[in-house]
């Protein structure tokens, strides 16, 4: 045995040395993606052209110290997103890679035709993050990304922060790529995305784009988006403003300058949770219990809030107002035939043997369904002033 080893060792060592140098040579030139030699797209936009081709636009930070512009924009047309990327490489001194994409934008026209296939390729690509925000843009994304903004810096990062900030602030529902896919592959819920528009130099989230399957159908305002989340979700720091008739406080408007007879109420740090009960199976009846705690931030008439009765009235007013708005929203969703809140999943989760329920079945049931809202609100604080 000892003899064996003595013989084997130098051979083994020589083999190891050869092998190690092999590693250094071979891996040295494969798969390298050196940070400053790659074009790191931070945002991509896709438009549908008239001839059926897709135009992709990507925004990359320009880190060349001699360049005047801080960003570099590439655009190419093609049939697939990867084909577009190949064409972009022909225009760039750096290899265009997608690992740093933060936001993917789709033009409204494109979204109407259905995004399924193009997002599918995004999800398949392991180099892309699951936390990419997907959005619909009102107009052509090419125009939007190539617009020379003065204050936004890198438009990709800016958009990312814009959306992230609003999701954190619970102004719009979260819309990462993962969540889009989760909704897309789930039968009882339809995906949503932020709906973005540009007004001159400013970008803004106009609302929430509603999808039916992978097709964009319409959009709702942020206020309606708040209600969507109120139905099915939790708030910790939400905010909401509404108006109630002055009359309910038992006061006549003292100041005739205040428009109409309405009181504007602004609530913030709303925390809420909801409970959805399937009370009847066919046709489905949903009882939605929403409980919310809010702090009143602003109200447009000088009311003395020390009166407990007044608080009750205010709470009651808020409840009525919310219920009314919720009903309005539901009928709008029904008319659009989309279910972004996921009543379908709740229906499935409350009934046995529905695991194989198809989307079409659910859409039919959704039209027949009745929704009963029970909002209970508590105003817990009212600032430092009574």
């Amino acid at each position: 045995m000892r003899h064996d080893r003595k013989y084997a060792m130098p051979l083994l060592k020589r083999f190891l040395a050869l092998w190690c140098s092999g590693i250094l040579i071979v891996t040295g030139c494969s798969d390298r993606q050196i940070f400053d030699e790659t074009g790191l797209a931070t945002a991509v936009g896709y438009d549908l052209l008239k001839d059926g081709k897709i135009r992709g636009t990507s925004v990359m930070p320009s880190i060349n110290p001699e360049a005047r512009n801080k960003i570099q924009i590439l655009s190419a047309t093609g049939e697939t997103s990867k084909g577009i990327r190949d064409k972009m490489n022909l225009q760039s001194d750096k290899r265009v890679l997608g690992g740093q994409i933060r936001v993917a934008l789709y033009s409204e026209n494109f979204a109407k035709k259905g995004l399924g296939s193009i997002i599918d390729t995004l999800y398949r690509d392991s180099s892309l993050s699951s936390r990419i925000y997907l959005c619909v843009f009102a107009g052509e994304t090419y125009d939007m990304l190539t617009y020379p903004y003065s204050e936004q810096g890198n438009i990709g990062i800016y958009l990312y922060r814009l959306i992230e900030q609003n999701i954190r602030g619970e102004k719009i529902p979260s819309s990462t790529m993962h969540e889009f896919f989760r909704a897309y592959y789930e039968k009882g819920i339809d995906p949503v995305m932020p709906y973005i528009e540009r007004k001159g130099n400013e970008l803004k989230i106009k609302g929430i784009a509603l999808f039916k399957g992978d097709r964009y159908v319409s959009w709702v305002t942020p206020k309606e988006a708040f209600l969507l989340k109120l139905i099915h979700g939790k708030f910790r720091i939400g905010s909401y403003d509404t108006s109630v008739p002055v009359a309910i406080f038992g006061e006549s408007p003292k100041n005739h300058n205040s428009k109409k007879d309405q009181v504007q109420l602004v609530f913030d740090t709303i925390s809420s949770h909801s409970k959805i009960k399937l009370s009847q199976v066919s046709p489905p009846i949903f009882d939605i219990h929403v409980e919310l705690h809010a702090r009143i931030l602003e109200l447009t008439i000088p009311l003395k809030l020390e009166n407990a009765k007044l608080m009750k009235i205010m709470e009651h007013g808020l409840e009525k107002e919310l219920e009314k708005e919720l009903h309005k929203l539901i009928s709008k969703l029904k008319s659009l035939d989309v279910d972004p809140t996921g009543f379908g999943s709740i229906y499935r989760s409350n009934r046995r043997g529905m695991a194989n329920m198809t989307q079409a079945e659910w859409r039919k049931m959704f039209q027949d369904a009745t929704f009963r809202f029970h909002v209970k609100s508590t105003i817990i604080r009212n600032g430092v002033m009574d």
Binding site: M1, L16, S126, S130, H178
Partner: protein, 374 residues
């Protein structure tokens, strides 16, 4: 070949470490993508299948320990020779040894595939496989104690990955879990069978057993190890079920990695890359132990030196790992391996136990026979 082994004191491990070895061998490549396979059968009740598989594993491990405890200090190879006789015993032991070898190969190939899919598409297999096998060899020649130490290290540096599940939990939709027990019993059972690829690994105790110092506590520690394994599986499964919708899960091959895609820290994002890299530390004990077990088999059956056996096995597995497989072939191999391992690791122990009982009834155990030094 002597049936019982005398292991020198400097080569023994404690019962605690035996548990560590069992846990370390159980957790491996399966965890990265077992969700889809189970959910395919059991739907959103897949977590119940996990619990069922856990229960079965507990019983199986208990039976294995029972079998081993019929002898003072024997391993699988010794028992099989005792039960089946010289020729048949050697034959079956060779099969089992091959199973250990194939297990190591399947794990190695699966890991290489993950790395090539997620991180380095152009990294040649021969490099990655060579690096992994070098690490394996370097550790195994340190002896079972070093292997056990490495396994302990591997658990210690990867257990915190469970905490990362907090991030995907923020996106949880709990109604995905309901209604509970919606799947039929048959589906749940099929889901449990599908768990076998993820569950196996405990059978290494068959070979490790003689090296354990305080054998009366092996049962306890291995049961704990299995419990910890399944609690981790259950946790991962539950998080996956509420994080993915069913349709999405069916399209996700490595769901655990997708879970980690949601993790981000202020200075580091994309934790799946960290997980894939760290997973090397998780699978190394698997490969080490399986190869160690098959090398032990060669030593026990044919009296080779352990080092010589390793010198034969390492090049063999290296060459095996270089075979090119497509994703579809990999799926097939995994399915086939899953079925085989179910028979070898889950069913065979019961059979062997019965055989041992019969054997010892007809003829008193050779428990007093003198052992062979390891």
């Amino acid at each position: 070949m002597k049936i019982n082994l005398n292991v020198t004191k400097s080569n023994t491990i404690s019962a605690f470490l035996a548990g560590v070895l069992v846990h370390g061998t159980q957790v491996g490549m399966g965890v990265l993508g077992f969700q889809r396979i189970i959910a395919k059968e059991a739907g959103h009740d897949a977590w119940i299948s996990v619990i069922l598989a856990g229960l079965i594993t507990h019983v199986t491990v208990w039976i294995i320990i029972k079998t081993l405890q019929k002898y003072p200090s024997a391993d699988l190879y010794g028992i099989q020779e005792d039960v089946y006789g010289r020729w048949l015993g050697t034959g079956i032991s060779l099969l089992y040894l091959t199973y250990f070898f194939i297990s190591a190969g399947v794990i190695l190939r699966n890991y290489i595939e993950v790395v090539q899919t997620w991180v380095f598409p152009n990294l040649p297999t021969w490099i990655l496989s060579g690096i992994i096998l070098f690490l394996v060899y370097y550790t195994i020649v340190g002896g079972i104690r070093v292997v056990a130490g490495y396994t302990f290290f591997s658990i210690a540096v990867t257990i915190w990955l469970l905490c990362d599940l907090y991030f995907p939990l923020q996106y949880a939709h709990w109604e995905y879990l309901f209604p509970i027990m919606d799947s039929s019993l048959e589906n749940l059972f099929n889901g449990m069978l599908a768990m076998s690829l993820t569950s196996v690994g405990f059978e290494v105790i068959y070979v490790v057993y003689p090296f354990v110092e305080n054998k009366d506590r092996v049962n306890k520690s291995t049961q704990w190890a299995v419990l910890v394994t399944y609690l981790a599986y259950l946790l991962i499964m539950l998080v996956s079920l509420v994080f993915f919708s069913q349709g999405q899960l069916m399209r996700t091959i490595w769901a655990t990695l997708n879970l980690h895609k949601m993790v981000y820290l202020p200075v580091l994002e994309r934790f799946e890359l960290v997980v894939i890299s760290l997973w090397l530390i998780v699978i190394l004990p698997n490969i080490m132990l399986y190869l160690w077990c098959s090398a032990r088999g060669l030593k026990r059956l044919f009296g080779f030196n352990l080092r010589t056996s390793l010198n034969w096995i390492m090049p063999l597995i290296y060459i095996t790992s270089l075979t090119v497989f497509t994703r579809l072939e990999m799926n097939m191999i995994n399915d086939w391996y899953g079925t085989t391992s179910m028979y070898v690791a889950f069913l065979y122990p019961y059979f062997l136990y019965i055989m041992v009982l019969l054997k010892q009834r007809t003829q008193p155990a050779k428990s007093t026979s003198k052992g062979e030094s390891a």
